[in-house]
């Protein structure tokens, strides 16, 4: 369970998150939508401790992320994250990309790590690209590899930050399919996305961010069919 309690976050004078409250249950899929600069990415990076928070607290499985005593490296193994920009390690093959963290962080043997990696890469449809360097992959393949890489750490949670935004339109589908698959398997996920269709079909709840505030959150059908907040309505009409 991820519990976000009155989280505020400022970059210098700019307050980017203005008191966010959100609890994500085990097995739940929450989509986050909102305009550019509304603080969506910032929230995700706060959840796995990549960013400090200015106020409030975030608990993952009851452990306070930003407590001094927390072993962040250990915590992060449990939270996979995939970013919008391609983030493959270009100097490693696809297989090495995926086995690196299991070997170095979890201390797995090479064989063990490769077994797991092959499993996940097959899962995302990259079984044939094991020994290729990421530079040779399409954007969609790179994002799927990043997903497999995160999954190889067997995280309990996955955070996705607009993983399809940088892709050519024809590549978006293959990545969304992978996400859908994960959701169907019961993974707990927070997905920042611009794909309304995906948000509607796959997520249990949808949250709308506006200028650092979570203006609205509701079960997905209700969210799209009867948005309450004026800004939500405006946003939804602009992206349709």
């Amino acid at each position: 369970m991820i519990e976000i309690k009155d989280v505020r976050k400022s970059f210098g004078p700019l307050e980017v998150l203005k008191g966010i409250d959100l609890t994500v249950q085990k097995g739940e899929v929450v989509s986050v939508i909102g305009g550019s600069g509304s603080g969506k990415s910032t929230l995700l990076t706060c959840i796995n401790g990549l960013e400090q928070i200015s106020h409030g607290s975030i608990l993952v499985d009851g452990i306070e992320v930003h407590a001094k005593s927390t072993d962040l490296n250990k915590l992060r193994r449990n939270i996979g994250i995939v970013f919008q920009q391609f983030n493959s390690f270009p100097h490693l093959t696809v297989l090495e990309n995926v086995t690196l963290a299991p070997r170095k962080v979890l201390g797995m043997s090479r064989e063990q790590a490769e077994e797991i990696a092959v499993k996940h890469l097959t899962h995302v449809g990259l079984a044939e690209k094991l020994l290729v360097y990421p530079g040779r992959l399409s954007g969609g393949q790179q994002q799927r590899m990043a997903i497999a890489r995160a999954l190889a750490m067997s995280p309990a949670y996955m955070l996705f930050d607009e993983v399809t935004s940088a892709l050519d339109p024809q590549l978006v589908g293959e990545v969304l399919d992978t996400l859908k698959l994960l959701a169907d398997e019961g993974m707990t996920m927070i997905c920042v996305t611009h794909e309304m269709g995906f948000a509607r079909d796959v997520s249990d709840r949808v949250a709308f961010f506006h200028q650092g505030v979570m203006a609205e959150i509701a079960p997905s059908k209700q969210f799209f069919d009867a948005p309450q907040h004026a800004e939500t309505q405006k946003f939804l009409s602009s992206v349709r």
Binding site: R76, Q85, F89, P90, H91, L100, A101, V105, R149, A150
Partner: protein
Amino acid sequence: MFDTGLNLNDLMFLAKGAGMTLAVTAFAVTGGTLMGLFFGVLRAHISTWAALPIIFVLDIFRSVPLLIQLVLANAFQAIAGLNMPPFATSCVVLALYTSAYCTEIVRGAIDAVPMVTRRAARSLGLSWGQDMTQIVFPMALRVALPSWIGLTLGVLKDSSLVLWLGIIELLRASQILVTRLQEPMFILMVTGVIYFALSFPIARLGSQLEKRWREND
């Protein structure tokens, strides 16, 4: 072919000089690179303001002629009673000189590693050290290598200045032979060819590596 007094013995003498040039270069580049790595990593992780003292000091090494640096360092170690042989002084000065350039190369290369890639690494649970060694350095190396090779070649050539401290490196060896044999043009040409022969393989090695890496992208 040539009517020259240059004999095998003298060629050996030149070769010994070239060996000295290589030795000085090797020490300087090794030391300079290590220091450059340290300062470069530091520079990439602290703010420009905090780095100002480092920036200033390293800038001095790039703004004062190496000749002056060598003479000064030699005089200083003399005054301070450090009792360093000229070889050691030369290596230290050249290493500092190298590090001044290397720091910029390292910093530039680290900055060239996209933030998101580093975040991805940290998100997988890799520690800062693991991130640096497994992700940042390998990626930065590709960016840095061409400039680093250039720097190495530069130091190889600039090392000729250590003759000022009485070290018999390649150029000094050739001057000694010129004094004895009185064939300046011929001996200097041979020296030029040797310099070329020293730097060319390094340059080639660099472009070879670059090409190999590019195949992966």
